[in-house]
Symmetry: C2
């Protein structure tokens, strides 16, 4: 398949969670592949001159309601915000990159971690919590976390973050079909149209 979409996300982002539940089904309809790209939202915000959605109080309150509505619309379980929010998502994002580099089941881990955070409401900044999600997938939690704290994993997360910003992202989730940027869970229809317009 030549058709591909880059899906830049951060585990701390509820709209990234929503997108993660249906991006693969969308891509299947378009006969396209999804490149899951963990990135660090604060780095994208800084590079683009944007501010965090949660820093605007009425916006933060609205997002809680909007995400609830989307979960209902998509027939997902009720959303539970992570017990600490916002949390420092750097380690969580790096564990996903390490799992990917190790050839372990990357997308299932991303999905399991998103579910743990946004349905169970666990603390994504806590290494023990991440270890449990890894163990539940029979992954070597100790090895992944050790690697995730290393320089290579830090550099890999920075690389994804910098690439997203350099291509024009100013938040997450951000989707790229070639040079075309689409922002948000609510633009997956446009992403699907853009993919279908490509040669198959």
């Amino acid at each position: 398949m030549n058709r591909a979409v880059d899906f830049f996300f951060d585990f701390m982002s509820p709209y990234s969670y929503l997108a993660s539940t249906r991006v693969e089904a969308m891509a299947a309809r378009a006969e396209a592949t999804v490149r899951w790209r963990p990135a660090y939202l604060p780095g994208i915000l800084k590079a683009s001159g944007n501010i965090a959605p949660v820093s605007v109080l009425p916006k933060a309150a609205y997002i809680v309601r909007d995400v609830e509505r989307w979960a209902k619309q998509l027939d997902l379980p009720p959303v539970k915000y992570p017990v600490v929010f916002p949390f420092n998502s750097a380690l969580a994002n790096r564990t996903a990159l390490v799992v990917s580099q190790q050839g372990a089941p990357f997308v299932p881990y991303c999905r399991a971690l998103f579910r743990a955070l946004w349905i169970d409401g666990v603390d994504g900044g806590n290494a023990d919590v991440l270890a449990q999600v890894l163990k539940d997938l029979d992954l070597d939690a100790g090895a992944v976390l050790l690697e995730a704290n290393g320089e290579a994993a830090r550099a890999a997360l920075k690389e994804n973050t910098d690439e997203a910003a350099a291509r024009g992202a100013f938040g997450v989730p951000s989707f790229f079909v070639g040079d075309e940027l689409f922002v948000g869970n609510d633009r997956l229809d446009f992403v699907e149209q853009a993919l279908k317009a490509l040669p198959g």
Copy 2:
């Protein structure tokens, strides 16, 4: 009809323009009425602690593309940004309030002004331009503009702006169904669902 939605908008907002083209059809499907409420976006941003979308450069560039996509999706003519952008929309918003208070055709004027701005790309900060749109609808441009520069019109715009912010808005377009806020042209489906859930 007991079902009603408050539609807070500013003529300088492209997503308000997009919403203006279909909010009445949406309300008709839900057997509801639309209360068109011109408001002053900079006032809402200031009250909520939000920043202007165009102040984030990659976001401003993205919005241009996103609005183009929406116009195509909705079978609208190609969008042309107002020749001066952003422009000071205070007078434009106040003319609409005056037209409303005079019992003149308010919604047709709002739609005509949105089209002049976002299809023809006229300068919405220019009184002569506003006068032409008024004249094209056989309205008394001189009288409307005189009134629009008065204290009552200024107070009325501030009242709408303050009400939107007090109810939780942090930008435009903002829709309220009772206490429930919905933000953006891309949430009209949710607005329709909320209206239909009310007693008819």
